[in-house]
Symmetry: C2
Amino acid sequence: MYRTHNCGQLNISNVGQKTTLSGWVQRSRDLGGMTFIDLRDRYGITQLTFNMETNAELCEKARELGREFVIKISGNVVERSNKNKNIPTGEIEIIVENLEVLNASKTPPFTIEEHTDGGEELRMKYRYLDLRRNVVKENIIFRHKLSIEIRNYLNNLDFLEIETPILIKSTPEGARDFIVPSRMNPGQFYALPQSPQTFKQLLMVSGFDKYFQIVRCFRDEDLRADRQPEFTQIDCEMSFVEQEDILQTFEGMTKHLFKKVKNIELKDFPRMPYSEAMRLYGSDKPDIRFGMCFKDVTEVVKGKDFKIFDDAQSILGIVAPQSATYTRKQVDQLTDFVRRPQVGASGMVYIRYNEDGSLKSSVDKFYSEDDLKKIAEKMEAQPGDLMLLLSGDTEKTQKALCELRLEMGNRLELRPADKFAPLWVVDFPLLEWDEETERFYAKHHPFTAPKAEDFELMKTNPGEVRANAYDLVINGSEIGGGSIRISDKDLQNDNFELLGFTAEEAHQQFGFLLDAFEYGAPPHGGIAFGFDRLCAVMSGVESIRDFIAFPKNNHGRDVMIDAPSAVAQEQLDELNINTKEITE
Amino acid sequence: MYRTHNCGQLNISNVGQKTTLSGWVQRSRDLGGMTFIDLRDRYGITQLTFNMETNAELCEKARELGREFVIKISGNVVERSNKNKNIPTGEIEIIVENLEVLNASKTPPFTIEEHTDGGEELRMKYRYLDLRRNVVKENIIFRHKLSIEIRNYLNNLDFLEIETPILIKSTPEGARDFIVPSRMNPGQFYALPQSPQTFKQLLMVSGFDKYFQIVRCFRDEDLRADRQPEFTQIDCEMSFVEQEDILQTFEGMTKHLFKKVKNIELKDFPRMPYSEAMRLYGSDKPDIRFGMCFKDVTEVVKGKDFKIFDDAQSILGIVAPQSATYTRKQVDQLTDFVRRPQVGASGMVYIRYNEDGSLKSSVDKFYSEDDLKKIAEKMEAQPGDLMLLLSGDTEKTQKALCELRLEMGNRLELRPADKFAPLWVVDFPLLEWDEETERFYAKHHPFTAPKAEDFELMKTNPGEVRANAYDLVINGSEIGGGSIRISDKDLQNDNFELLGFTAEEAHQQFGFLLDAFEYGAPPHGGIAFGFDRLCAVMSGVESIRDFIAFPKNNHGRDVMIDAPSAVAQEQLDELNINTKEITE
């Protein structure tokens, strides 16, 4: 037997007992007559002691153990003289009587500590060692706990977890598919699902009125820092529901998760129409942990011969509270910030509302103190505040000011990691016009139902049609999104038409769904949560990568196993495919 | 609101209440003055009544409803005069006051009934309609329940569910991989995992000492009736354990599942070495619901000038109890059975042990009644029994007799669907010699540890080395299999060498695992269950297909969505691949 206890289990109540433990050597301290070893496993750390006087041979053996050796020991639990109150096992230690080396270890390429000396790349290559670090390990455990709570919550509400296929059919709409050559059907390919969307809708047609699945999804997109080619979705769908039922159900689930896993009671989630979110925050996923909403000063600032403002479609600003004392250097930093290509503003105007009531701006040449006062009034600024204005094309200005607002939120420490501000964003537009390709794209996806009151607009002004679509946003991250779906073949065909599908294309790609709608499709709708993202947001961190046991890097590579890689020509032959000569 | 109750919920206690229900029209009966409709949803069926006298308009409307129309009704719950005690809602009916058609339905291509008139192919094409049938629906619900119980059982034992990647690296060992061309790494491919084997071993190296995952796996093999290109595994691994710990843990889980989901208490599972299973049942997955073990009569039957027996390596038989009265026709059927190519015997000898003690055989020319008596004694046959003998090469004879034994088990009704006989088969051989390629293959997989007492044999007689490998068999189906793994780099390299890997190949394919073993790999082992198979076996059915919501056919096709299919040339261009001209 390898162990009677784990390394996080023994405490003062076990003193006097015999124990057998197995684990890794975390640290070894040789104090002349005594040798102390911290033995680590998933559950904690237990201190082992070896005494030169009472058992020299064993103590010598212990001294030869290197970091990360795997050992099995047995001995007696005793009370420590030098207690460590920070860990559950800190009041005891083990006087070791037997020591067996189960496996040796080379010196690891980086330290297995809370703060490691290993760089990102090295830790990715030796991911199995990085996973030993407490902080990464805890993330993986957190993810597990969350998945158990999600499943039990939904199971208690009569949701059924139903697995949908991974080898499906390629559909060009949406992101790029990963495809899989079929050996048995030469020249044909499966695709990996970007989501189980059509399958969950078919399950609704089948009568499974409450479906969920924690499911892997795949998108062959160029990877940004925080995107993975494969990711996990909490995919949900319900029949005989309206939008309100879905919001209630999944608000309930989210509250339950925060309560169970973080012991945080969330209040009812506010709701905000998409148009409002764009107007007040310049974003469809506003971080509402703090205010600093946009103020539109377009009407107030025009006509003072300041060409930049006069020519602008919109002039929008935010009020940074208690920041009038910002130095010139600090303001310049902000200007540099908004000029970054990712932010995209060409410049920034500031107005200081000094504590003494005086006003000072970067555009004093054009605006008198009275003019500035009017702007301050319009912006509801108070003495002591700093106003920051951006201008230009409305959409671009919203986007840039959104970034500036978040940056100011960070600087003013208004975005604490332990505060959670959930928000439903509702009433998304059904369609999105793309200037480049001169066509509409589905804002959510092609199966989203327009609001009944906007049906008429589909013919007259499709860009204005609102959808029964909603996103759940927490702290500025979209953690879930969904919609009421179309369940009528004709309406679905109308929507495909708006999206530029010919009838033939629609039939070829989604014929099975259109057919299904003819055999008694119930009204239905759903939502999908990004599970990796949910883990990260609930933990108050930015990156999803450390909540994934074996993530890929930004080039879609698993550097640990070295995938993707070349395959044997025979494999390609069997699949009836060739790789092309690669010409740079 | 679409419903206040579901269609399986209302009973006599709800009489007098108002209700709103939504669902599908299962059946409509027009009895002149009254129209009855059975409204169906996932939860059950509720009878709706419409009365020509009290509400002619509504009744007319109801009469126009076709099968599978989706409707919403509201009305009053009343007690039925003509009660149906077979269903929970059978004592009540709804007097409908409002009826809304939510969606019409074309006449479905087959009946949505327990016994449908739809053929296999049609039902696969309209799988979403087949899933409405109670029998298929219940299978999917059963699978869900099982998954919830598995997760909670393992979670309570501190197992963590950890997701491993689906886009991994191709390794030629084992079955054929599905591969996925990488756009970002031209000329390179991901592979879909045949199992998360190496990843779960890496998780053990990471210190996650109890891992599980209900996970999709992929094998590009020619499909037999009951194989799917993608299937689901309950994948488990533990550290600091011996074989006994794993058997105990997962015997516990299996008992728990039977108790929780089927209310069946299973006794402790017997264990049988592989060699014994082959000797007594000619199979490594014997159905031990019944006896009829093999009897080796080789020594008793030789030397009587019956050339077929004299030339045979083995003569093996079974005793079919109380079957001496089998007619000539029945015996001929059995002979035909064993001669099928899938069974592969060239003939069968029978010996009737009549009730009066006389013996009669198909080889009376060679064997006197005394000779037959000796055979009967050796086989422990009783008057009234029928002895069936096959002969030839030992392995082939075992295989054929195994099939014959199962066939006799079926004929004698010794394999009832509601009896469950679990069995651990243990002590599998480490290696399997392949005559054709003249090399060893791993019986389980290349990571399986040999038994410590057989280490020496690895050098002298590898074919005799036994592994710490085990299968869980229920009613003749292998539902799980696993092993203690190698955790030592040198032993792993020795094993790769036996399997014909060069050092370079081993490094190229599994270098990451061999490397990991150098950084403190704990002793570990695990097991994987076929989840689809487990569902089928627990339900007492043969085919896994109806426990999969959207299965593929024997050509790996999803005939509903029509996948795989051709993709656009631009997709192939982006992936740097071409399909070859297909020449027949």
